[in-house]
Symmetry: C2
Subunit: 198 residues, 2 copies
């Protein structure tokens, strides 16, 4: 592994390609390059805390600069939850359909005025040689009560960003990248990552 490689803490090919596109580089690898890396439970109370937790663990394990992110949906009527528990809201990690069904059932009697929501992402870079950077991105909007669109993942089918008519699941990947919480957090982190790649 060349010394100027950066590890992204994901096994998701789509996430890896997205970040490579934002950074305009090929010198990124995912966790598939490190099959034995231990899982890091996301035990922090904030997105920033969890992103740092993961990036620190991967940097320590690989000896390479590591990038990790944590993101979620913060719903007004739920005091900002699912938040850091977005991926396991219905109890089991990563069951998008169950998470979405549960959220819609929970807000069934909530008036429109309190269906405001925002997607938040924290992205962290940790250099094992020293240095930690964290950036955040968010996109404000509102929930709708039934799914629309087949793009994206997670809560995208019920989230309409402010100033738009379509859900983030109805947008093209490029249009979503341009306004998304992940896109914003990673673009803010990009200059620091590029510093490690050159």
């Amino acid at each position: 592994m060349p010394a100027d490689t950066v590890v992204l803490a994901t096994r998701n090919e789509g996430k890896l390609r997205e970040l490579a596109r934002i950074l305009d580089t090929e010198r990124l690898v995912g966790l598939d390059a490190f099959p034995d890396v231990p899982d890091v439970p996301e035990t922090e109370a904030t997105f920033e805390g969890n992103a740092l937790l993961k990036a620190r663990a991967i940097a320590a394990y690989t000896g390479l600069p590591a990038v990790a992110d944590d993101s979620g949906l913060c719903v007004d009527a739920l005091n900002g939850m699912p938040g850091v528990l977005s991926a396991r809201w219905a109890g089991k990690h990563g069951d998008d359909q169950a998470n979405l069904d549960l959220l819609l059932a929970q807000v069934a009697d909530v008036p429109e005025a309190r269906l405001g929501a925002r997607f938040v992402c924290a992205a962290a870079l940790v250099d094992p040689a020293g240095g930690e950077w964290v950036t955040t991105g968010e996109v404000a909007g509102r929930l709708i009560r039934e799914r629309r669109g087949s793009g994206g993942f997670g809560y995208d089918p019920v989230f309409v960003p402010s100033g738009f008519q379509e859900t983030t699941a109805e947008m093209t990947p490029e249009a979503k990248d341009a306004i998304s919480h992940r896109g914003r957090a990673f673009r803010a982190l990009a200059p620091y990552i590029q510093g490690k790649l050159t």
Copy 2:
């Protein structure tokens, strides 16, 4: 119905007896005396708001002073939720087992330090002749990760009040009344209710 009767907005015999015990009166009736009273959806963001909403609707419908309460469990790690959504946390109203299973799964990776929680109750009295009163009661404590005890209902089996070793589901009804959020809210409201009963 005698004019000095007070209606309690519940169909639950246990709740009716509990309040009659606190008020030391028999001049309380439940909603079973008004089979056609319409259901009031709990659409407010606060316990106080929901208790008032229900008490106003029952007072308007029956023409009698009405008492209603709303209560729930506020968990630190969930930014104070399930809160007003406690009874429908798993999506369907009143499924205690599903609500409890979901809550335990959601906090599975949450460290002990953030398992603080409190039960909160708001109790409201609305007099159709004029006058509204709202009181609140709470009991602070912490969640445990598995059920203990068969008393109480709802989240009682996983809630240990501060200063106690047992869950509220392991307490006698009298011991629980003495410290419970509902007991506290109703005792604070009692003088106003007794004013209507004399």
